[in-house]
Amino acid sequence: MVQIRVEYFAILREHVGCTHEALSTPAATVGDLYAELDRRHAFPALGHLKVAVNDEFCEWSTPLRDGDSVVFIPPVAGG
Protein backbone atom coordinates (compact mmCIF):
# COMPACT_ATOMS: atom_id res chain seq x y z
CA MET A 1 0.00 0.00 0.00
CA VAL A 2 1.21 3.53 -0.84
CA GLN A 3 -0.07 6.84 0.45
CA ILE A 4 -0.78 9.16 -2.48
CA ARG A 5 -2.71 12.27 -3.40
CA VAL A 6 -4.94 12.75 -6.44
CA GLU A 7 -5.82 16.21 -7.76
CA TYR A 8 -8.84 16.83 -9.97
CA PHE A 9 -9.33 19.60 -12.53
CA ALA A 10 -12.18 20.81 -14.72
CA ILE A 11 -14.74 18.13 -15.64
CA LEU A 12 -13.16 15.55 -13.32
CA ARG A 13 -13.19 18.02 -10.42
CA GLU A 14 -16.88 18.70 -11.06
CA HIS A 15 -17.65 14.99 -11.47
CA VAL A 16 -15.86 13.85 -8.32
CA GLY A 17 -16.98 16.91 -6.38
CA CYS A 18 -13.61 17.82 -4.86
CA THR A 19 -10.28 19.32 -5.90
CA HIS A 20 -8.19 16.54 -4.38
CA GLU A 21 -8.26 13.42 -2.24
CA ALA A 22 -5.59 11.61 -0.21
CA LEU A 23 -5.70 7.83 -0.24
CA SER A 24 -3.98 4.56 0.54
CA THR A 25 -3.93 2.27 -2.45
CA PRO A 26 -2.64 -1.18 -3.41
CA ALA A 27 -2.30 0.06 -7.04
CA ALA A 28 1.14 -0.65 -8.52
CA THR A 29 0.97 1.83 -11.40
CA VAL A 30 -0.89 5.04 -12.24
CA GLY A 31 -2.94 2.95 -14.68
CA ASP A 32 -3.99 0.62 -11.87
CA LEU A 33 -4.85 3.65 -9.76
CA TYR A 34 -7.09 5.04 -12.51
CA ALA A 35 -8.92 1.71 -12.76
CA GLU A 36 -9.42 1.64 -8.98
CA LEU A 37 -10.74 5.22 -8.86
CA ASP A 38 -12.92 4.67 -11.94
CA ARG A 39 -14.70 1.85 -10.09
CA ARG A 40 -15.40 4.21 -7.19
CA HIS A 41 -16.20 7.43 -9.12
CA ALA A 42 -17.41 6.10 -12.50
CA PHE A 43 -15.46 8.74 -14.44
CA PRO A 44 -17.11 10.09 -17.61
CA ALA A 45 -15.70 8.90 -20.97
CA LEU A 46 -13.17 11.59 -21.89
CA GLY A 47 -11.40 10.40 -25.01
CA HIS A 48 -7.62 10.48 -24.82
CA LEU A 49 -6.70 10.99 -21.18
CA LYS A 50 -3.12 11.84 -20.12
CA VAL A 51 -1.63 11.51 -16.67
CA ALA A 52 0.98 13.32 -14.59
CA VAL A 53 2.87 12.31 -11.46
CA ASN A 54 4.49 15.02 -9.33
CA ASP A 55 3.74 17.68 -11.94
CA GLU A 56 5.33 15.89 -14.92
CA PHE A 57 3.61 13.95 -17.68
CA CYS A 58 4.21 10.20 -17.37
CA GLU A 59 3.20 6.83 -18.82
CA TRP A 60 0.26 4.82 -17.52
CA SER A 61 2.79 2.12 -16.59
CA THR A 62 4.67 4.45 -14.21
CA PRO A 63 5.00 2.78 -10.76
CA LEU A 64 3.31 4.54 -7.86
CA ARG A 65 5.49 5.57 -4.92
CA ASP A 66 4.67 6.75 -1.46
CA GLY A 67 3.93 10.49 -1.44
CA ASP A 68 3.19 10.75 -5.19
CA SER A 69 0.75 13.38 -6.42
CA VAL A 70 -1.28 12.16 -9.41
CA VAL A 71 -3.36 14.16 -11.90
CA PHE A 72 -5.53 12.70 -14.68
CA ILE A 73 -5.60 15.14 -17.60
CA PRO A 74 -8.69 15.28 -19.84
CA PRO A 75 -8.35 16.65 -23.42
CA VAL A 76 -7.16 20.25 -23.11
CA ALA A 77 -8.78 23.32 -24.63
CA GLY A 78 -6.61 26.37 -24.13
CA GLY A 79 -6.40 29.47 -26.32
Binding site: E7, F9, A10, I11, R13, P44, A45, L46, G47, A52, D55, E56, F57, V71, I73, P74, P75, V76, A77, G78, G79
Partner: protein, 147 residues
Protein backbone atom coordinates in the same frame (compact mmCIF):
# COMPACT_ATOMS: atom_id res chain seq x y z
CA UNK B 1 11.46 36.25 -15.78
CA UNK B 2 9.10 33.49 -16.87
CA UNK B 3 8.62 33.22 -20.63
CA UNK B 4 5.32 31.37 -20.18
CA UNK B 5 2.92 32.33 -17.46
CA UNK B 6 -0.68 32.26 -16.35
CA UNK B 7 -2.57 35.37 -15.33
CA UNK B 8 -5.75 35.68 -13.27
CA UNK B 9 -6.18 39.35 -14.18
CA UNK B 10 -6.13 41.39 -17.39
CA UNK B 11 -2.87 41.13 -19.35
CA UNK B 12 -0.85 44.34 -19.76
CA UNK B 13 -0.07 44.09 -23.47
CA UNK B 14 2.15 47.18 -23.50
CA UNK B 15 4.41 45.65 -20.84
CA UNK B 16 4.34 42.22 -22.54
CA UNK B 17 5.48 43.66 -25.86
CA UNK B 18 8.15 45.82 -24.20
CA UNK B 19 9.82 42.67 -22.80
CA UNK B 20 10.62 41.63 -26.36
CA UNK B 21 12.28 44.90 -27.41
CA UNK B 22 15.66 44.24 -29.04
CA UNK B 23 17.74 46.58 -31.24
CA UNK B 24 18.63 43.61 -33.48
CA UNK B 25 14.97 42.70 -34.06
CA UNK B 26 13.33 43.88 -37.27
CA UNK B 27 10.17 41.80 -36.87
CA UNK B 28 7.62 41.27 -34.13
CA UNK B 29 4.73 38.84 -34.64
CA UNK B 30 2.03 38.44 -32.08
CA UNK B 31 -1.12 36.42 -31.68
CA UNK B 32 -4.04 36.92 -29.34
CA UNK B 33 -6.89 34.55 -28.66
CA UNK B 34 -10.06 36.50 -27.90
CA UNK B 35 -13.21 35.13 -26.28
CA UNK B 36 -15.73 34.93 -29.13
CA UNK B 37 -19.49 34.68 -28.96
CA UNK B 38 -19.68 31.40 -30.89
CA UNK B 39 -17.82 28.07 -31.00
CA UNK B 40 -17.98 25.06 -33.30
CA UNK B 41 -21.17 26.29 -34.92
CA UNK B 42 -22.88 27.06 -31.64
CA UNK B 43 -23.89 30.71 -31.14
CA UNK B 44 -24.87 32.33 -27.86
CA UNK B 45 -21.65 31.88 -25.92
CA UNK B 46 -21.97 34.40 -23.08
CA UNK B 47 -18.68 33.92 -21.24
CA UNK B 48 -15.87 31.45 -20.62
CA UNK B 49 -14.11 29.98 -17.67
CA UNK B 50 -10.51 28.76 -17.94
CA UNK B 51 -9.11 26.33 -15.42
CA UNK B 52 -5.43 25.39 -15.49
CA UNK B 53 -3.21 22.77 -13.90
CA UNK B 54 -0.70 25.50 -13.18
CA UNK B 55 2.33 23.62 -11.80
CA UNK B 56 2.53 21.41 -14.89
CA UNK B 57 1.23 24.11 -17.24
CA UNK B 58 4.07 26.56 -16.63
CA UNK B 59 6.65 23.79 -17.18
CA UNK B 60 5.04 22.66 -20.43
CA UNK B 61 4.66 26.27 -21.57
CA UNK B 62 8.35 26.96 -20.91
CA UNK B 63 9.27 23.81 -22.86
CA UNK B 64 7.24 25.06 -25.83
CA UNK B 65 8.97 28.46 -25.79
CA UNK B 66 12.38 26.75 -25.51
CA UNK B 67 11.50 24.55 -28.51
CA UNK B 68 10.54 27.62 -30.54
CA UNK B 69 13.84 29.32 -29.65
CA UNK B 70 15.75 26.20 -30.75
CA UNK B 71 13.79 25.60 -33.98
CA UNK B 72 13.47 29.13 -35.34
CA UNK B 73 15.93 31.98 -35.78
CA UNK B 74 14.24 34.29 -33.28
CA UNK B 75 15.44 36.61 -30.54
CA UNK B 76 12.85 36.01 -27.85
CA UNK B 77 9.31 34.75 -27.29
CA UNK B 78 6.69 34.95 -24.56
CA UNK B 79 3.23 33.63 -23.87
CA UNK B 80 0.61 34.43 -21.24
CA UNK B 81 -2.65 32.54 -20.76
CA UNK B 82 -5.58 33.87 -18.74
CA UNK B 83 -7.33 31.79 -16.09
CA UNK B 84 -10.70 32.35 -14.45
CA UNK B 85 -13.88 33.92 -15.82
CA UNK B 86 -13.67 35.88 -19.07
CA UNK B 87 -16.28 37.89 -20.95
CA UNK B 88 -16.76 38.03 -24.73
CA UNK B 89 -14.00 40.10 -26.32
CA UNK B 90 -11.49 39.58 -23.54
CA UNK B 91 -7.98 38.39 -24.26
CA UNK B 92 -7.57 34.69 -23.40
CA UNK B 93 -4.01 34.12 -24.60
CA UNK B 94 -1.16 36.25 -25.94
CA UNK B 95 1.95 35.14 -27.82
CA UNK B 96 4.74 37.54 -28.83
CA UNK B 97 7.91 36.81 -30.81
CA UNK B 98 10.74 39.11 -31.88
CA UNK B 99 13.26 38.18 -34.58
CA UNK B 100 15.64 39.73 -37.08
CA UNK B 101 13.32 38.71 -39.95
CA UNK B 102 9.60 38.10 -40.33
CA UNK B 103 9.67 34.50 -41.63
CA UNK B 104 11.00 33.21 -38.32
CA UNK B 105 8.80 35.53 -36.26
CA UNK B 106 5.60 34.30 -37.94
CA UNK B 107 6.64 30.63 -37.87
CA UNK B 108 7.58 30.68 -34.20
CA UNK B 109 4.43 32.57 -33.19
CA UNK B 110 2.28 30.02 -34.99
CA UNK B 111 4.25 27.12 -33.49
CA UNK B 112 3.82 28.43 -29.95
CA UNK B 113 0.07 29.02 -30.12
CA UNK B 114 -0.53 25.63 -31.79
CA UNK B 115 1.51 23.75 -29.20
CA UNK B 116 0.04 25.67 -26.26
CA UNK B 117 -3.46 24.80 -27.43
CA UNK B 118 -2.58 21.12 -27.73
CA UNK B 119 -0.24 20.51 -24.82
CA UNK B 120 -0.71 22.95 -21.94
CA UNK B 121 -3.24 21.60 -19.40
CA UNK B 122 -5.93 24.26 -19.61
CA UNK B 123 -9.65 23.57 -19.81
CA UNK B 124 -12.37 25.84 -21.12
CA UNK B 125 -15.94 25.86 -19.92
CA UNK B 126 -18.44 27.71 -22.08
CA UNK B 127 -21.56 29.30 -20.64
CA UNK B 128 -24.43 29.67 -23.11
CA UNK B 129 -27.35 32.06 -23.41
CA UNK B 130 -29.79 29.14 -22.86
CA UNK B 131 -28.37 28.57 -19.37
CA UNK B 132 -26.36 25.46 -20.31
CA UNK B 133 -22.64 25.15 -19.99
CA UNK B 134 -20.02 22.65 -21.11
CA UNK B 135 -16.33 21.80 -21.02
CA UNK B 136 -14.97 22.19 -24.56
CA UNK B 137 -13.26 19.16 -26.23
CA UNK B 138 -15.08 16.77 -23.97
CA UNK B 139 -17.86 14.70 -25.51
CA UNK B 140 -19.33 13.61 -22.21
CA UNK B 141 -19.55 17.24 -21.14
CA UNK B 142 -21.06 18.25 -24.45
CA UNK B 143 -23.70 15.58 -23.95
CA UNK B 144 -24.25 16.87 -20.41
CA UNK B 145 -24.58 20.46 -21.63
CA UNK B 146 -27.31 19.44 -24.06
CA UNK B 147 -29.09 17.19 -21.56
Amino acid sequence: MKRFDFSRGAVDLVACRAQLADPAAGAYASFEGWVRNHNEGRAGVLRLEYEGYEQLGVKEGERIIAEALARFDIGDARCIHRLGELDIGELAVWVGVSAAHRDAAFAACRYIIDEVKHRVPIWKKEHYADGNSGWVNCEACAAHAHA
